[in-house]
Symmetry: C2
Subunit: 174 residues, 2 copies
Amino acid sequence: MKFELDKSIEVLEKTPLILEAFLSGLSENWIHNNEGKNTWSPYDVIGHLIFGEKTDWIVRIQLILSASENKMFEPFDRYAQLNEEQNLPISQLTKKFIELRSENIKVLKSLNISKEDLKLTGIHPELGTVTIAQLIATWTVHDLGHIAQISRVMSKQYKEEVGPWVKYLGTLNK
Amino acid sequence: MKFELDKSIEVLEKTPLILEAFLSGLSENWIHNNEGKNTWSPYDVIGHLIFGEKTDWIVRIQLILSASENKMFEPFDRYAQLNEEQNLPISQLTKKFIELRSENIKVLKSLNISKEDLKLTGIHPELGTVTIAQLIATWTVHDLGHIAQISRVMSKQYKEEVGPWVKYLGTLNK
C-alpha cells in the first residue's frame, strides 16, 4: 500500500476502540503480567501510548509545519511510562488514551495537510531527515505493533498451559 | 498464569468485540492485503476462525466429554477457508464469527466443566493425548495469536512508507 492520510486516520481512529474492547473488564493477571524481566505488560503499553500522544506524533507534525527554523525533534522517552504512577486502574488509563487520541485526531484533521505538505521534513535525533508522511505511517504502524504486542504478551501467560500445542502457536515462540 | 476456565472465557468472549472494533469500516486494502504469496489477509484469518468455531474447539470438548470410546479428534483443516466463497463482505464474515462464538460460549458454559473434567483427555491426531484444559488454553492463545497476526499483516502494508523508522518497528521485521 502506498501511504494515504485518510487510510492512516482510519487505523489511528480504531486503536482506542480496539484497546477498549481488548482490556476493559479483564482480570488483573491479563493486564499486569509481562513476558519476563524488563518487558512490558499490556498496562505498560497503554502508558507508553499515552506518552506518544502527549509528546511525540502530533508535536512533531506541528514542528515540521511550523515557521521554526529548528526542525530537530525532541527525543522521545520510550520508557517514560515506567516512571509514572502505576496505580491508576486500567480503565482510567485507557480512558486517558482515548481522550488524548481523539483530541489528536481532531488536531490532525484540522491541519488540512496537503499532498505537498506530506513531503515536508523534520530531523529525527537518530534517524535524520524524515517526512510528515513517514511520521504518520510510523504512528499507524506503531499502533498496530503495540496491539500485536498486547496480544502476544497475553498469549504467553498460557505458554505452560497449552501442553503439546505449544509448537503450533507462533506467538508463544517469539 | 495457571489455567482457569473463567479467565479463558474472559478472552474468548472478547475476541469478537476486538475483531469487530478492528475490521468494521476499514478500506478494502487493509482487509484483503496479506504478507506475500501463501500468507493470509485479515479476511482469511476471520474465515479460519469461523472454521475453528464450526469444526474444532467445542466439537473436540464435546467428544472428550461424550460416552464415545473413540476419543480421536478429526484433523482440523487449517486452510479450509481458502476454498470458501471469497466474496462475502468482511462485515458479514465478522458477523458470522460473532454469532458462532457467542453460541459456542453458551455451549461451553452449559457444559459445567468441573476441575476434574478439565483433566479428561482426547487424542490429537498428531500431538497425542491432550486434556480439556490444554484444549481451552489453546483456543484462547489461538485467538490472541490471530489478533496479533491481523495487526502484524496490516502494519506490513506500510513497510515501505515508514522510511528510516523501519528498524524500530518490530512487526515490520517478522
